[in-house]
Protein backbone atom coordinates (compact mmCIF):
# COMPACT_ATOMS: atom_id res chain seq x y z
CA UNK A 1 0.00 0.00 0.00
CA UNK A 2 3.05 2.24 0.33
CA UNK A 3 2.33 5.66 1.82
CA UNK A 4 -1.18 5.82 0.54
CA UNK A 5 -3.66 7.85 2.54
CA UNK A 6 -6.59 6.55 0.56
CA UNK A 7 -7.12 3.35 -1.37
CA UNK A 8 -10.29 2.58 -3.33
CA UNK A 9 -10.74 -0.99 -4.50
CA UNK A 10 -13.52 -1.71 -6.98
CA UNK A 11 -15.83 0.83 -5.44
CA UNK A 12 -19.32 1.18 -6.87
CA UNK A 13 -22.28 3.24 -5.77
CA UNK A 14 -25.77 2.64 -7.02
CA UNK A 15 -28.66 4.95 -6.18
CA UNK A 16 -32.25 3.85 -6.53
CA UNK A 17 -34.48 6.44 -8.12
CA UNK A 18 -37.91 4.88 -7.98
CA UNK A 19 -37.67 1.67 -10.00
CA UNK A 20 -34.51 2.76 -11.77
CA UNK A 21 -31.03 2.11 -10.41
CA UNK A 22 -28.49 4.79 -11.22
CA UNK A 23 -24.82 3.83 -11.07
CA UNK A 24 -23.05 6.93 -9.77
CA UNK A 25 -19.67 5.23 -9.33
CA UNK A 26 -18.70 2.15 -11.28
CA UNK A 27 -15.97 -0.20 -10.06
CA UNK A 28 -13.53 2.57 -9.26
CA UNK A 29 -10.06 1.75 -7.98
CA UNK A 30 -7.74 4.55 -6.94
CA UNK A 31 -4.85 5.36 -4.63
CA UNK A 32 -4.02 8.76 -3.17
CA UNK A 33 -0.56 9.14 -1.70
CA UNK A 34 0.31 11.26 1.30
CA UNK A 35 1.14 14.87 0.33
CA UNK A 36 -0.64 14.75 -3.03
CA UNK A 37 -2.45 17.74 -4.47
CA UNK A 38 -4.89 15.80 -6.61
CA UNK A 39 -7.91 16.87 -8.58
CA UNK A 40 -10.93 14.71 -9.42
CA UNK A 41 -12.52 16.25 -12.47
CA UNK A 42 -15.21 15.45 -14.91
CA UNK A 43 -18.53 16.66 -16.16
CA UNK A 44 -21.58 17.03 -13.93
CA UNK A 45 -22.90 13.63 -12.92
CA UNK A 46 -19.54 11.90 -13.39
CA UNK A 47 -19.53 10.86 -9.72
CA UNK A 48 -16.91 13.28 -8.32
CA UNK A 49 -18.90 14.36 -5.25
CA UNK A 50 -20.08 10.79 -4.59
CA UNK A 51 -16.47 9.59 -4.55
CA UNK A 52 -15.47 12.36 -2.18
CA UNK A 53 -18.42 11.65 0.10
CA UNK A 54 -17.58 7.95 0.23
CA UNK A 55 -13.90 8.66 0.96
CA UNK A 56 -15.04 10.96 3.78
CA UNK A 57 -17.31 8.27 5.23
CA UNK A 58 -20.37 10.44 4.65
CA UNK A 59 -21.79 7.93 2.19
CA UNK A 60 -21.46 4.17 1.97
CA UNK A 61 -20.35 2.34 -1.19
CA UNK A 62 -22.71 -0.28 -2.60
CA UNK A 63 -19.71 -2.53 -3.21
CA UNK A 64 -15.91 -2.39 -3.02
CA UNK A 65 -13.58 -1.25 -0.26
CA UNK A 66 -12.35 2.16 0.84
CA UNK A 67 -9.27 2.13 3.04
CA UNK A 68 -8.17 5.26 4.86
CA UNK A 69 -4.82 4.90 6.56
CA UNK A 70 -5.16 1.12 6.91
CA UNK A 71 -8.74 1.26 8.12
CA UNK A 72 -11.52 -0.10 5.97
CA UNK A 73 -14.36 2.38 6.34
CA UNK A 74 -17.20 -0.09 5.72
CA UNK A 75 -16.25 -2.00 8.89
CA UNK A 76 -16.61 1.05 11.13
CA UNK A 77 -19.64 2.11 13.13
CA UNK A 78 -21.27 5.54 12.86
CA UNK A 79 -19.40 6.73 15.94
CA UNK A 80 -16.05 5.37 14.72
CA UNK A 81 -16.58 7.04 11.34
CA UNK A 82 -17.37 10.30 13.13
CA UNK A 83 -14.08 10.02 15.01
CA UNK A 84 -12.17 9.31 11.77
CA UNK A 85 -13.75 12.40 10.20
CA UNK A 86 -12.93 14.42 13.29
CA UNK A 87 -9.28 13.38 13.52
CA UNK A 88 -8.12 12.40 10.03
CA UNK A 89 -10.31 14.16 7.44
CA UNK A 90 -10.97 17.80 6.72
CA UNK A 91 -13.90 18.86 4.56
CA UNK A 92 -14.27 21.94 2.42
CA UNK A 93 -17.67 22.14 0.77
CA UNK A 94 -18.90 24.13 -2.19
CA UNK A 95 -21.53 25.86 -0.03
CA UNK A 96 -19.03 26.55 2.82
CA UNK A 97 -21.30 24.71 5.29
CA UNK A 98 -20.37 26.63 8.39
CA UNK A 99 -22.45 26.36 11.55
CA UNK A 100 -24.51 29.56 11.34
CA UNK A 101 -24.79 30.12 15.07
CA UNK A 102 -21.01 30.08 15.60
CA UNK A 103 -18.50 32.85 14.89
CA UNK A 104 -15.60 32.42 12.50
CA UNK A 105 -13.35 31.64 15.45
CA UNK A 106 -15.81 29.12 16.90
CA UNK A 107 -16.36 27.43 13.53
CA UNK A 108 -12.63 27.04 13.09
CA UNK A 109 -12.31 25.89 16.70
CA UNK A 110 -15.17 23.38 16.41
CA UNK A 111 -13.11 20.30 15.50
CA UNK A 112 -10.47 21.05 18.15
CA UNK A 113 -13.25 21.34 20.72
CA UNK A 114 -14.54 17.95 19.59
CA UNK A 115 -11.05 16.58 20.12
CA UNK A 116 -11.04 18.05 23.66
CA UNK A 117 -7.92 20.11 22.95
CA UNK A 118 -7.27 22.44 25.93
CA UNK A 119 -8.79 25.89 25.55
CA UNK A 120 -5.51 27.87 25.50
CA UNK A 121 -4.01 25.56 22.92
CA UNK A 122 -7.18 25.82 20.84
CA UNK A 123 -7.08 29.56 20.92
CA UNK A 124 -3.43 29.69 19.91
CA UNK A 125 -3.92 27.28 17.00
CA UNK A 126 -7.13 28.86 15.71
CA UNK A 127 -5.76 32.39 15.83
CA UNK A 128 -2.67 31.27 13.92
CA UNK A 129 -4.72 29.46 11.27
CA UNK A 130 -7.16 32.37 10.86
CA UNK A 131 -4.22 34.69 10.34
CA UNK A 132 -2.76 32.24 7.85
CA UNK A 133 -5.98 32.16 5.80
CA UNK A 134 -6.26 35.94 5.94
CA UNK A 135 -9.09 36.33 8.44
CA UNK A 136 -7.28 38.17 11.19
CA UNK A 137 -9.67 40.65 12.80
CA UNK A 138 -12.78 38.81 11.58
CA UNK A 139 -12.75 36.14 14.27
CA UNK A 140 -15.93 37.30 15.97
CA UNK A 141 -18.06 37.54 12.85
CA UNK A 142 -20.77 35.04 12.21
CA UNK A 143 -21.05 33.40 8.75
CA UNK A 144 -23.82 35.76 7.64
CA UNK A 145 -21.48 38.68 8.34
CA UNK A 146 -18.77 37.32 6.03
CA UNK A 147 -18.42 37.31 2.23
CA UNK A 148 -18.48 34.02 0.30
CA UNK A 149 -14.70 34.02 -0.01
CA UNK A 150 -14.26 34.75 3.67
CA UNK A 151 -16.68 31.95 4.59
CA UNK A 152 -14.72 29.54 2.43
CA UNK A 153 -11.52 30.63 4.17
CA UNK A 154 -13.18 29.84 7.51
CA UNK A 155 -14.15 26.42 6.09
CA UNK A 156 -10.52 25.87 5.04
CA UNK A 157 -9.33 26.98 8.48
CA UNK A 158 -11.76 24.52 10.08
CA UNK A 159 -10.54 21.76 7.78
CA UNK A 160 -6.81 22.25 8.41
CA UNK A 161 -6.72 23.32 12.05
CA UNK A 162 -6.62 19.76 13.37
CA UNK A 163 -3.92 18.79 10.86
CA UNK A 164 -5.84 15.93 9.25
CA UNK A 165 -4.38 13.26 6.96
CA UNK A 166 -6.40 14.50 3.99
CA UNK A 167 -8.59 17.41 3.03
CA UNK A 168 -11.49 16.64 0.74
CA UNK A 169 -12.59 19.77 -1.06
CA UNK A 170 -15.81 19.58 -3.07
CA UNK A 171 -15.98 22.37 -5.66
CA UNK A 172 -14.30 24.82 -3.23
CA UNK A 173 -14.19 27.65 -5.77
CA UNK A 174 -17.65 27.26 -7.28
CA UNK A 175 -19.35 29.99 -5.28
CA UNK A 176 -16.62 32.63 -5.28
CA UNK A 177 -15.36 35.21 -7.77
CA UNK A 178 -12.23 34.49 -9.78
CA UNK A 179 -9.91 36.66 -7.68
CA UNK A 180 -11.07 34.94 -4.52
CA UNK A 181 -10.88 31.55 -6.24
CA UNK A 182 -7.29 32.23 -7.25
CA UNK A 183 -6.31 33.23 -3.73
CA UNK A 184 -8.05 30.19 -2.24
CA UNK A 185 -6.23 27.81 -4.59
CA UNK A 186 -2.94 29.52 -3.77
CA UNK A 187 -3.70 29.23 -0.07
CA UNK A 188 -4.41 25.51 -0.33
CA UNK A 189 -1.32 24.99 -2.49
CA UNK A 190 0.80 26.67 0.17
CA UNK A 191 -0.75 24.59 2.91
CA UNK A 192 -0.02 21.48 0.89
CA UNK A 193 3.59 22.46 0.38
CA UNK A 194 4.31 23.88 3.82
CA UNK A 195 2.34 21.46 6.00
CA UNK A 196 2.38 18.44 3.70
CA UNK A 197 -1.40 18.14 3.94
CA UNK A 198 -2.90 15.88 1.26
CA UNK A 199 -5.59 17.56 -0.83
CA UNK A 200 -8.18 15.86 -2.99
CA UNK A 201 -10.43 18.21 -4.94
CA UNK A 202 -13.55 17.51 -6.85
CA UNK A 203 -14.04 20.21 -9.44
CA UNK A 204 -14.76 21.12 -13.00
CA UNK A 205 -13.17 24.56 -12.52
CA UNK A 206 -10.28 24.81 -14.98
CA UNK A 207 -8.38 27.15 -12.63
CA UNK A 208 -8.23 24.40 -10.03
CA UNK A 209 -7.60 21.63 -12.56
CA UNK A 210 -4.67 23.57 -14.03
CA UNK A 211 -3.06 23.85 -10.59
CA UNK A 212 -3.52 20.19 -9.68
CA UNK A 213 -0.37 18.12 -9.61
CA UNK A 214 -2.36 15.00 -10.35
CA UNK A 215 -5.51 15.01 -12.42
CA UNK A 216 -7.99 12.13 -12.06
CA UNK A 217 -10.68 12.27 -14.72
CA UNK A 218 -14.01 10.61 -14.18
CA UNK A 219 -16.70 9.80 -16.70
CA UNK A 220 -19.90 8.00 -15.80
CA UNK A 221 -18.49 7.02 -12.46
CA UNK A 222 -15.35 5.39 -13.77
CA UNK A 223 -11.80 6.51 -14.49
CA UNK A 224 -11.54 8.25 -17.85
CA UNK A 225 -7.91 9.16 -18.20
CA UNK A 226 -5.35 9.73 -15.58
Amino acid sequence: MGDNVIVLEGVSKVYSQGKIDVKAVNNLSLEIERGEFAVLCGPSGSGKTTVLNMIGGLDIPTSGRIILEWKELSTLSGTELAKIRRDRIGFVFQAYNLVPVLTAFENAEFVLALQNVPKDERREKVMAILEEVGLKGLEDRRPDELSGGQQQRVAIARAIVSEPAIILADEPTANVDSVTAESLITLMEELNKEKGITFLFSTHDQRVISRGRRIIRLRDGALDLE
Partner: protein, 406 residues
Protein backbone atom coordinates in the same frame (compact mmCIF):
# COMPACT_ATOMS: atom_id res chain seq x y z
CA UNK B 1 -17.62 19.13 22.48
CA UNK B 2 -19.19 21.11 25.29
CA UNK B 3 -22.87 20.40 24.74
CA UNK B 4 -24.34 22.87 27.24
CA UNK B 5 -23.05 26.21 25.88
CA UNK B 6 -23.88 25.09 22.35
CA UNK B 7 -27.38 24.04 23.42
CA UNK B 8 -27.94 27.36 25.22
CA UNK B 9 -27.04 29.19 22.04
CA UNK B 10 -29.31 27.02 19.92
CA UNK B 11 -32.25 27.53 22.29
CA UNK B 12 -31.82 31.28 21.87
CA UNK B 13 -31.82 31.11 18.07
CA UNK B 14 -35.52 31.00 17.40
CA UNK B 15 -36.68 33.06 20.34
CA UNK B 16 -40.33 33.18 19.37
CA UNK B 17 -40.66 29.41 19.12
CA UNK B 18 -38.62 28.88 22.28
CA UNK B 19 -40.79 31.34 24.21
CA UNK B 20 -44.02 29.73 22.98
CA UNK B 21 -42.74 26.28 23.91
CA UNK B 22 -41.60 27.43 27.36
CA UNK B 23 -44.89 29.29 27.90
CA UNK B 24 -46.91 26.17 27.01
CA UNK B 25 -44.82 24.01 29.29
CA UNK B 26 -44.93 26.62 32.06
CA UNK B 27 -48.70 27.02 31.73
CA UNK B 28 -49.16 23.26 32.07
CA UNK B 29 -46.84 23.27 35.08
CA UNK B 30 -48.75 26.14 36.66
CA UNK B 31 -52.12 24.43 36.08
CA UNK B 32 -50.84 21.25 37.65
CA UNK B 33 -49.25 22.91 40.69
CA UNK B 34 -52.46 24.85 41.28
CA UNK B 35 -54.69 21.82 40.66
CA UNK B 36 -52.61 19.55 42.90
CA UNK B 37 -52.56 22.19 45.65
CA UNK B 38 -56.32 22.75 45.35
CA UNK B 39 -57.03 19.02 45.48
CA UNK B 40 -54.67 18.72 48.46
CA UNK B 41 -56.56 21.48 50.26
CA UNK B 42 -59.90 19.95 49.32
CA UNK B 43 -58.83 16.51 50.57
CA UNK B 44 -57.42 17.94 53.76
CA UNK B 45 -60.64 19.86 54.44
CA UNK B 46 -62.78 16.78 53.86
CA UNK B 47 -60.53 14.71 56.12
CA UNK B 48 -60.60 17.46 58.75
CA UNK B 49 -64.39 17.77 58.52
CA UNK B 50 -64.86 14.03 58.58
CA UNK B 51 -62.50 13.37 61.47
CA UNK B 52 -62.75 16.70 63.23
CA UNK B 53 -66.50 17.32 63.23
CA UNK B 54 -67.82 14.04 64.54
CA UNK B 55 -65.90 10.85 63.92
CA UNK B 56 -62.53 11.36 65.52
CA UNK B 57 -59.60 9.14 64.54
CA UNK B 58 -60.90 5.95 66.15
CA UNK B 59 -64.16 4.80 67.68
CA UNK B 60 -65.17 2.07 70.13
CA UNK B 61 -68.62 0.47 69.97
CA UNK B 62 -70.29 -2.61 71.34
CA UNK B 63 -70.17 -5.41 68.76
CA UNK B 64 -72.99 -4.99 66.25
CA UNK B 65 -73.97 -1.48 67.36
CA UNK B 66 -73.03 0.15 64.07
CA UNK B 67 -75.24 -2.14 62.03
CA UNK B 68 -78.06 -2.07 64.54
CA UNK B 69 -77.84 1.03 66.74
CA UNK B 70 -79.77 -0.47 69.61
CA UNK B 71 -80.12 1.62 72.76
CA UNK B 72 -79.02 -1.36 74.84
CA UNK B 73 -75.79 -2.21 72.97
CA UNK B 74 -73.33 -0.31 75.11
CA UNK B 75 -69.70 0.01 76.09
CA UNK B 76 -70.04 -0.60 79.79
CA UNK B 77 -66.65 0.10 81.39
CA UNK B 78 -66.13 3.36 79.50
CA UNK B 79 -64.65 5.29 82.45
CA UNK B 80 -61.79 2.79 82.80
CA UNK B 81 -61.17 2.72 79.07
CA UNK B 82 -61.15 6.52 78.81
CA UNK B 83 -58.70 6.93 81.68
CA UNK B 84 -56.38 4.28 80.18
CA UNK B 85 -56.60 5.94 76.77
CA UNK B 86 -55.75 9.26 78.34
CA UNK B 87 -52.58 7.79 79.88
CA UNK B 88 -51.54 6.62 76.37
CA UNK B 89 -51.83 10.10 74.86
CA UNK B 90 -55.26 9.53 73.34
CA UNK B 91 -58.14 11.95 73.96
CA UNK B 92 -61.52 10.27 74.29
CA UNK B 93 -65.11 11.42 74.44
CA UNK B 94 -68.02 9.22 75.56
CA UNK B 95 -71.23 9.54 73.57
CA UNK B 96 -74.79 8.39 73.97
CA UNK B 97 -77.22 8.10 71.10
CA UNK B 98 -80.92 7.73 70.73
CA UNK B 99 -83.64 8.68 68.32
CA UNK B 100 -86.60 10.89 68.98
CA UNK B 101 -89.06 13.42 67.66
CA UNK B 102 -88.30 17.09 68.18
CA UNK B 103 -91.27 19.43 67.98
CA UNK B 104 -91.98 23.15 68.09
CA UNK B 105 -95.48 24.51 67.69
CA UNK B 106 -97.02 22.52 64.88
CA UNK B 107 -93.78 21.25 63.28
CA UNK B 108 -91.77 18.24 64.21
CA UNK B 109 -88.74 16.34 62.88
CA UNK B 110 -87.03 13.06 63.58
CA UNK B 111 -83.65 13.62 65.23
CA UNK B 112 -80.67 11.73 66.47
CA UNK B 113 -80.21 12.67 70.08
CA UNK B 114 -76.55 12.87 71.06
CA UNK B 115 -75.56 13.00 74.69
CA UNK B 116 -72.05 14.29 75.08
CA UNK B 117 -69.60 15.61 77.64
CA UNK B 118 -68.83 19.09 76.21
CA UNK B 119 -65.42 19.27 77.88
CA UNK B 120 -64.19 15.87 76.67
CA UNK B 121 -65.87 16.30 73.29
CA UNK B 122 -63.87 19.46 72.70
CA UNK B 123 -60.67 17.41 73.02
CA UNK B 124 -61.77 15.07 70.21
CA UNK B 125 -63.79 17.14 67.73
CA UNK B 126 -64.07 20.80 66.92
CA UNK B 127 -67.85 20.84 66.70
CA UNK B 128 -67.85 23.49 69.45
CA UNK B 129 -65.98 25.83 67.08
CA UNK B 130 -68.71 25.56 64.47
CA UNK B 131 -71.53 27.42 66.12
CA UNK B 132 -73.50 29.56 63.68
CA UNK B 133 -75.67 31.25 66.28
CA UNK B 134 -75.77 31.13 70.08
CA UNK B 135 -73.25 29.09 72.03
CA UNK B 136 -72.01 25.57 72.69
CA UNK B 137 -73.28 23.25 75.43
CA UNK B 138 -72.55 24.27 78.98
CA UNK B 139 -72.82 22.03 82.06
CA UNK B 140 -74.35 24.97 83.92
CA UNK B 141 -77.28 25.00 81.49
CA UNK B 142 -78.62 21.41 81.57
CA UNK B 143 -81.69 22.13 79.45
CA UNK B 144 -79.75 23.94 76.76
CA UNK B 145 -79.31 22.03 73.48
CA UNK B 146 -77.42 22.60 70.27
CA UNK B 147 -79.08 21.62 67.00
CA UNK B 148 -78.22 21.39 63.31
CA UNK B 149 -78.73 24.26 60.89
CA UNK B 150 -81.34 22.57 58.68
CA UNK B 151 -83.13 21.12 61.68
CA UNK B 152 -83.49 24.64 63.10
CA UNK B 153 -84.97 25.71 59.79
CA UNK B 154 -87.35 22.74 59.71
CA UNK B 155 -88.48 23.38 63.28
CA UNK B 156 -88.59 27.08 62.62
CA UNK B 157 -86.73 27.75 65.84
CA UNK B 158 -84.04 30.26 66.76
CA UNK B 159 -81.60 30.46 69.62
CA UNK B 160 -83.61 30.73 72.85
CA UNK B 161 -86.60 28.91 71.38
CA UNK B 162 -88.14 25.89 73.04
CA UNK B 163 -88.09 22.38 71.60
CA UNK B 164 -90.11 19.46 72.89
CA UNK B 165 -88.38 16.09 72.70
CA UNK B 166 -90.36 12.88 72.61
CA UNK B 167 -88.79 9.41 72.54
CA UNK B 168 -88.96 5.98 74.08
CA UNK B 169 -86.78 5.49 77.15
CA UNK B 170 -84.76 2.36 77.83
CA UNK B 171 -87.33 1.12 80.33
CA UNK B 172 -90.10 1.34 77.72
CA UNK B 173 -91.62 4.46 79.18
CA UNK B 174 -92.39 7.60 77.22
CA UNK B 175 -89.38 9.94 77.34
CA UNK B 176 -90.22 13.59 76.97
CA UNK B 177 -88.86 16.91 78.06
CA UNK B 178 -88.64 20.53 77.01
CA UNK B 179 -85.30 22.04 76.01
CA UNK B 180 -84.13 25.45 75.00
CA UNK B 181 -81.99 25.96 71.92
CA UNK B 182 -78.61 27.27 73.10
CA UNK B 183 -76.87 27.12 69.80
CA UNK B 184 -77.30 26.33 66.11
CA UNK B 185 -74.44 24.66 64.28
CA UNK B 186 -72.95 25.72 60.97
CA UNK B 187 -73.30 23.30 58.09
CA UNK B 188 -70.92 20.49 59.08
CA UNK B 189 -72.45 17.39 57.49
CA UNK B 190 -75.77 16.28 56.11
CA UNK B 191 -76.63 14.02 59.08
CA UNK B 192 -75.83 16.62 61.72
CA UNK B 193 -77.39 19.47 59.72
CA UNK B 194 -80.76 17.70 59.37
CA UNK B 195 -80.96 15.69 62.55
CA UNK B 196 -78.26 16.78 64.99
CA UNK B 197 -79.62 17.31 68.50
CA UNK B 198 -76.90 17.67 71.16
CA UNK B 199 -77.47 17.75 74.85
CA UNK B 200 -75.44 16.99 77.98
CA UNK B 201 -74.67 13.35 78.84
CA UNK B 202 -76.49 13.55 82.17
CA UNK B 203 -79.58 15.04 80.50
CA UNK B 204 -79.56 12.18 78.00
CA UNK B 205 -79.32 9.60 80.80
CA UNK B 206 -82.19 11.28 82.59
CA UNK B 207 -84.35 11.52 79.44
CA UNK B 208 -83.70 7.98 78.21
CA UNK B 209 -83.42 6.37 81.66
CA UNK B 210 -79.99 5.06 80.89
CA UNK B 211 -77.85 5.26 84.03
CA UNK B 212 -74.79 3.29 82.83
CA UNK B 213 -72.61 2.81 79.76
CA UNK B 214 -72.09 4.72 76.53
CA UNK B 215 -72.83 3.88 72.90
CA UNK B 216 -69.62 5.22 71.50
CA UNK B 217 -66.20 6.40 72.55
CA UNK B 218 -64.66 8.74 70.01
CA UNK B 219 -60.87 8.98 70.18
CA UNK B 220 -58.32 11.41 68.82
CA UNK B 221 -54.56 11.07 68.68
CA UNK B 222 -53.06 13.98 70.55
CA UNK B 223 -49.82 13.40 68.70
CA UNK B 224 -50.89 13.48 65.05
CA UNK B 225 -47.54 12.25 63.83
CA UNK B 226 -48.18 8.87 65.47
CA UNK B 227 -49.37 6.19 63.08
CA UNK B 228 -53.12 5.63 63.02
CA UNK B 229 -52.84 1.85 62.79
CA UNK B 230 -50.55 1.76 65.83
CA UNK B 231 -53.02 3.85 67.86
CA UNK B 232 -55.88 1.64 66.69
CA UNK B 233 -53.96 -1.43 67.87
CA UNK B 234 -53.43 0.20 71.29
CA UNK B 235 -57.14 1.01 71.57
CA UNK B 236 -58.06 -2.57 70.56
CA UNK B 237 -55.88 -3.90 73.38
CA UNK B 238 -57.47 -1.52 75.90
CA UNK B 239 -61.03 -2.31 74.82
CA UNK B 240 -61.16 -6.09 74.40
CA UNK B 241 -64.48 -7.47 73.26
CA UNK B 242 -65.54 -4.21 71.63
CA UNK B 243 -65.44 -3.16 68.03
CA UNK B 244 -62.55 -0.74 67.40
CA UNK B 245 -62.38 0.97 64.00
CA UNK B 246 -60.31 3.80 62.59
CA UNK B 247 -61.90 6.59 60.56
CA UNK B 248 -60.93 5.01 57.23
CA UNK B 249 -63.19 2.07 58.04
CA UNK B 250 -65.84 4.24 59.63
CA UNK B 251 -66.00 6.50 56.58
CA UNK B 252 -64.90 4.22 53.74
CA UNK B 253 -66.44 6.40 51.02
CA UNK B 254 -64.54 9.48 52.16
CA UNK B 255 -61.38 7.48 52.71
CA UNK B 256 -61.57 5.98 49.23
CA UNK B 257 -62.28 9.38 47.70
CA UNK B 258 -59.17 10.81 49.34
CA UNK B 259 -57.14 7.89 48.02
CA UNK B 260 -58.54 8.36 44.52
CA UNK B 261 -57.73 12.08 44.67
CA UNK B 262 -54.06 11.14 44.27
CA UNK B 263 -54.92 9.00 41.27
CA UNK B 264 -57.04 11.91 40.00
CA UNK B 265 -54.05 14.24 40.20
CA UNK B 266 -51.99 11.69 38.30
CA UNK B 267 -54.62 11.29 35.58
CA UNK B 268 -54.95 15.07 35.27
CA UNK B 269 -51.17 15.32 35.03
CA UNK B 270 -51.10 12.77 32.24
CA UNK B 271 -53.94 14.45 30.31
CA UNK B 272 -52.54 17.98 30.63
CA UNK B 273 -48.98 16.94 29.90
CA UNK B 274 -49.99 14.73 26.98
CA UNK B 275 -51.34 17.84 25.29
CA UNK B 276 -48.16 19.72 26.16
CA UNK B 277 -46.00 16.87 24.90
CA UNK B 278 -47.53 17.44 21.44
CA UNK B 279 -46.45 21.09 21.60
CA UNK B 280 -42.94 20.07 22.66
CA UNK B 281 -42.76 17.33 20.03
CA UNK B 282 -43.91 19.75 17.33
CA UNK B 283 -41.48 22.47 18.41
CA UNK B 284 -38.55 20.08 18.65
CA UNK B 285 -39.37 18.41 15.34
CA UNK B 286 -39.51 21.81 13.65
CA UNK B 287 -36.27 22.77 15.28
CA UNK B 288 -34.64 19.52 14.13
CA UNK B 289 -35.98 19.63 10.56
CA UNK B 290 -34.89 23.24 10.23
CA UNK B 291 -31.36 22.25 11.19
CA UNK B 292 -30.94 18.94 9.38
CA UNK B 293 -28.39 20.53 7.06
CA UNK B 294 -26.53 21.87 10.06
CA UNK B 295 -26.53 18.47 11.76
CA UNK B 296 -25.11 17.09 8.52
CA UNK B 297 -22.23 19.57 8.69
CA UNK B 298 -21.63 18.71 12.31
CA UNK B 299 -21.63 14.99 11.54
CA UNK B 300 -19.23 15.66 8.64
CA UNK B 301 -16.68 17.36 10.87
CA UNK B 302 -16.79 14.60 13.45
CA UNK B 303 -19.74 15.04 15.78
CA UNK B 304 -20.95 11.59 16.83
CA UNK B 305 -24.62 10.51 16.69
CA UNK B 306 -24.64 10.45 20.49
CA UNK B 307 -23.42 14.04 20.64
CA UNK B 308 -26.19 15.15 18.27
CA UNK B 309 -28.73 13.30 20.43
CA UNK B 310 -27.30 14.87 23.60
CA UNK B 311 -27.40 18.32 22.05
CA UNK B 312 -31.09 18.13 21.14
CA UNK B 313 -31.95 16.47 24.44
CA UNK B 314 -30.10 19.20 26.35
CA UNK B 315 -31.90 21.93 24.37
CA UNK B 316 -35.26 20.39 25.37
CA UNK B 317 -34.18 20.03 28.99
CA UNK B 318 -33.08 23.68 29.07
CA UNK B 319 -36.56 24.66 27.94
CA UNK B 320 -38.09 22.39 30.58
CA UNK B 321 -35.85 24.04 33.17
CA UNK B 322 -36.99 27.51 32.11
CA UNK B 323 -40.62 26.30 32.17
CA UNK B 324 -40.08 24.87 35.67
CA UNK B 325 -38.78 28.22 36.88
CA UNK B 326 -41.83 29.85 35.31
CA UNK B 327 -44.04 27.29 37.06
CA UNK B 328 -42.38 28.04 40.38
CA UNK B 329 -42.53 31.79 39.83
CA UNK B 330 -46.25 31.79 38.97
CA UNK B 331 -47.75 28.55 40.31
CA UNK B 332 -46.41 28.71 43.85
CA UNK B 333 -47.35 32.34 44.67
CA UNK B 334 -50.84 31.90 43.15
CA UNK B 335 -51.41 28.64 45.07
CA UNK B 336 -50.09 30.23 48.27
CA UNK B 337 -52.47 33.16 47.77
CA UNK B 338 -55.43 30.82 47.51
CA UNK B 339 -54.11 28.81 50.45
CA UNK B 340 -54.80 31.90 52.54
CA UNK B 341 -57.78 33.45 50.79
CA UNK B 342 -59.56 30.47 49.25
CA UNK B 343 -61.82 30.41 46.20
CA UNK B 344 -65.48 31.03 46.94
CA UNK B 345 -67.39 28.34 45.04
CA UNK B 346 -70.71 29.02 46.78
CA UNK B 347 -72.25 30.60 43.68
CA UNK B 348 -71.39 27.47 41.71
CA UNK B 349 -71.73 24.73 44.29
CA UNK B 350 -73.90 25.99 47.18
CA UNK B 351 -74.09 23.58 50.14
CA UNK B 352 -72.05 20.55 49.17
CA UNK B 353 -71.54 17.33 51.01
CA UNK B 354 -69.78 14.10 50.25
CA UNK B 355 -70.30 10.83 52.13
CA UNK B 356 -72.27 12.82 54.71
CA UNK B 357 -69.38 15.25 55.18
CA UNK B 358 -70.09 18.90 54.50
CA UNK B 359 -67.76 20.57 52.04
CA UNK B 360 -66.87 24.17 52.69
CA UNK B 361 -67.89 26.21 49.63
CA UNK B 362 -64.67 28.17 50.04
CA UNK B 363 -61.96 25.94 48.63
CA UNK B 364 -58.46 26.45 49.89
CA UNK B 365 -55.21 25.35 48.29
CA UNK B 366 -52.71 23.39 50.34
CA UNK B 367 -49.21 23.83 48.95
CA UNK B 368 -46.97 20.89 49.80
CA UNK B 369 -43.56 19.85 48.47
CA UNK B 370 -45.24 17.08 46.46
CA UNK B 371 -47.81 19.44 44.92
CA UNK B 372 -44.87 21.44 43.53
CA UNK B 373 -42.31 18.75 42.83
CA UNK B 374 -44.51 16.12 41.18
CA UNK B 375 -45.74 18.47 38.39
CA UNK B 376 -42.17 19.66 37.79
CA UNK B 377 -40.73 16.14 37.73
CA UNK B 378 -43.51 15.14 35.32
CA UNK B 379 -42.68 18.15 33.15
CA UNK B 380 -39.08 16.95 32.77
CA UNK B 381 -40.22 13.37 32.15
CA UNK B 382 -42.75 14.31 29.50
CA UNK B 383 -40.21 16.63 27.81
CA UNK B 384 -37.66 13.83 27.80
CA UNK B 385 -40.20 11.48 26.22
CA UNK B 386 -41.39 14.02 23.67
CA UNK B 387 -37.87 14.88 22.53
CA UNK B 388 -36.74 11.28 22.12
CA UNK B 389 -38.12 10.90 18.60
CA UNK B 390 -36.68 14.15 17.14
CA UNK B 391 -33.35 13.59 18.92
CA UNK B 392 -33.01 10.02 17.63
CA UNK B 393 -34.09 11.12 14.16
CA UNK B 394 -31.39 13.79 14.07
CA UNK B 395 -28.77 11.45 15.50
CA UNK B 396 -29.24 8.62 13.02
CA UNK B 397 -29.67 10.67 9.87
CA UNK B 398 -27.11 9.85 7.16
CA UNK B 399 -24.60 12.73 6.99
CA UNK B 400 -24.62 12.87 3.20
CA UNK B 401 -28.40 13.21 3.10
CA UNK B 402 -28.34 15.82 5.84
CA UNK B 403 -25.66 17.93 4.18
CA UNK B 404 -27.55 18.18 0.90
CA UNK B 405 -30.92 18.65 2.65
CA UNK B 406 -32.39 22.06 1.89
Amino acid sequence: MKILPFAIRNVGRNRQRTLITIAAMGLAGFIMVFYASLLNGFSQKIAENSVGMSIGDIQIHAEGYRNDPDLYKMVTNHSDIISQLSSRGLAASPRLYGFGLAATGSTSAGVRISGIDPVLEATVTNLHQNILEGSWLDPSDPKGVVIGKKLARTLNVDVGGEVVMVSQASDGSMANDIYRVRGILKSVGEGIDRGGFYLLNDEFRSLMVLPEGVHEIAIKRLNESSELFESTAIVSRLAPGFEVLDWHRLQPIVSRMLETNEAGTLIMLIITYSAVSMVILNAMLMSVFERIHEFGIMRAVGVTPMQVFSLIFTEAMLQALAASLLTLAVGVPVSLYYQTHGIDMSSLAGDLSFGGVAINPIWYCKVTPSSILIPIIFLFLITALAVLYPAIKAAVIQPVKAIYHR
